[in-house]
């Protein structure tokens, strides 16, 4: 009798423990999945892709400690985003793109790539998000963001467009180039508007991607050409010579064909 009841107790116990673990685990797991949801956070330079970054960062703040500009901070309880991991708000303090990248160098876990060259970092992408607000698009001279850009004339250029209203002026429109922009946020910080017209967005929100089926003929001419063994390594002269040869061959064969009609 005592034996069956202790066996019964055992099974009840197992039932209780597993139910509690499953319910508790499901709730806990739900919290974890939900908490990974701030799509707008900007990470320090060299950060791994977001998912790997969030998993690898141990939340120690050594990057925060290393930054001389107090750009970075660990997200606090009650702030937007994943608690404890580093982020920055470009409008308040952007990343000043230190050449020696002390933040990434000090990361103990590998959440930030220590080898990163600052110009290769991609913290986000500047987007001129509101042309109606940007005064450059109203025909006024501004260029403040452009002048502030540490990669001026590469990441941020000015597009000159004739001003039709006056007939003799030009628009000086800032244009961001995604292949160079690091997302440091200096443009967003200095924008003279009350709310910045140019903003840094994480790549997954801001960056487009050309499908692999497209070939930009003028950039990759050799790839789509019919020339048998032309490769992009060849110099312009070589390619020129090659095509001349082919042309000659073609003319030769046309000439040869001519005899058919004799």
């Amino acid at each position: 009798m005592a034996k069956t009841s202790s066996r019964r107790d055992f099974f009840i116990r197992v039932g209780q423990v597993s139910t509690a673990s499953i319910v508790g685990g499901a709730l806990w797991g739900h919290v974890l999945v939900e908490s990974k949801a701030n799509a707008f956070a900007l990470r320090p330079p060299g950060a791994l892709p977001e998912k790997d970054f969030l998993a690898t960062c141990i939340k120690c703040g050594q990057c925060v400690d290393a930054c001389p500009y107090e750009t970075l901070s660990l997200t606090k309880v009650g702030e937007d985003g994943e608690i404890g991991v580093p982020h920055f708000t470009a409008r308040e303090i952007p990343c000043y793109m230190c050449e020696d990248v002390p933040c990434a160098r000090s990361c103990p876990t590998g959440a930030l790539d220590r080898e990163i060259e600052i110009n290769d970092s991609r913290m986000g992408l500047a987007v001129l998000i509101d042309q109606e607000a940007c005064i450059a698009f109203q025909g006024l001279r501004c260029e403040v963001c452009y002048r502030q850009c540490p990669l001026i004339d590469k990441a941020l250029t000015i597009n000159y467009r004739p001003q039709e209203r006056t007939g003799k002026h030009a628009f000086f429109e800032p244009v961001v180039h995604s292949d160079v922009c690091t997302g440091c946020g200096m443009c967003e910080q200095v924008c003279i508007l009350e709310e910045s017209a140019i903003r840094i967005l994480p790549h997954k929100l801001a960056q487009g991607k050309l499908g692999s089926n497209y070939r930009l003929g003028w950039k990759e001419k050799t790839k789509i050409s019919n020339f048998k063994d032309s490769s992009p390594e060849k110099t312009k002269e070589e390619r020129q010579q090659e095509s001349n040869e082919m042309l000659n061959n073609a003319l030769d064969s046309l000439n040869d064909m001519g005899t058919l009609y004799d």
Binding site: W28, A55, I58, D65, L74, V77, E82, I83, P108, T109
Partner: protein
């Protein structure tokens, strides 16, 4: 006064140690306090660099990251190893009594609770913390983030104490209230997976509380004051002449409370 100091000598040293460590982090972060050109302690309790060179890392946090399927730099692994070996020597849960800032919160809650004589509202087994520990590792593997690190009230509290406070104190307040109105010693004694984790290397600790059973009158004072009274099974510790359980936090309360001076800090006796 002298006798008060003597009776509370471990409590005072523990608070100095707990607050002192936080303070070292704090001055490194906020004042760039340097000695001989290097910052003493950069980072926080999760991971840090001591004297600009020695890596330290929370081994439980590192383990959770490994369970997410991500690798870590050797530096973090080394840091976690250093901490693990350290606590294996001085007693795993010495972390609880001498380092963890949450311990100040739960100790104060316990003081208030004893003073107000609040009875326990719930009963959670002391084993639950080990289930939570296992669950933390399983969930890390399933969700791909370090499961306990993401919700740990200890991490939230220490991080914000060091880097600037916002709502991190809410985490501490919740633990305080849970311990006050829920279960006596509820968090540290029953739920906290970090304490559970440290109890494992603590099993082989060199520093132990020695117990001399001859003068013991079985008054039970030690039992009443110990945060983990199950480790003070008088028959067992009498046979082993020390407190061998990994859940002893080396807080030294039994040493100071025992009217017959049966307890003292010492090194593990060869068995």
């Amino acid at each position: 006064m002298i006798s008060w100091l003597k009776n509370n000598r471990f409590l005072i040293s523990r608070r100095i140690s707990q607050i002192g460590i936080l303070l070292l982090f704090y001055v490194s972060v906020h004042f760039d306090w340097k000695v001989g050109g290097v910052e003493i302690l950069e980072g926080n309790l999760s991971s840090s660099t001591f004297l600009g060179i020695i890596p330290l890392a929370d081994p439980f946090a590192a383990l959770q990251i490994l369970f997410t399927g991500h690798s870590l730099f050797t530096e973090t692994l080394l840091g976690a190893g250093i901490i693990l070996v350290f606590y294996a020597l001085v007693g795993g849960r010495s972390f609880c009594s001498w380092v963890c800032p949450m311990n100040i919160v739960t100790d104060s809650s316990l003081k208030l609770r004893n003073w107000l004589k609040i009875p326990s509202a719930i009963q959670i087994s002391r084993r639950v913390r080990y289930y939570i520990l296992a669950l933390a590792l399983i969930l890390s593997a399933l969700t791909g983030v370090a499961a306990f690190e993401w919700i740990s009230p200890i991490s939230m509290l220490q991080r914000e104490l060091i880097f600037g406070m916002k709502l991190g104190w809410v985490a501490a307040a919740m633990i305080f209230l849970f311990d006050l109105f829920g279960q006596r010693g509820g968090w540290c004694g029953h739920l906290c997976p970090l304490g559970a984790f440290y109890s494992i290397p603590g099993k082989m600790s060199l520093i132990r509380i020695q117990f001399n059973q001859d003068p013991c009158t079985k008054c039970g004072d030690c039992h009443r004051i110990c945060p983990e009274p199950q480790v003070l099974n008088l028959r067992r510790i009498g046979e082993e002449s020390m407190v061998s359980s990994g859940n002893c936090t080396n807080c030294g309360r039994c040493v100071t409370v025992c009217p017959e001076d049966c307890f003292q800090f010492s090194f593990r006796t060869k068995k």
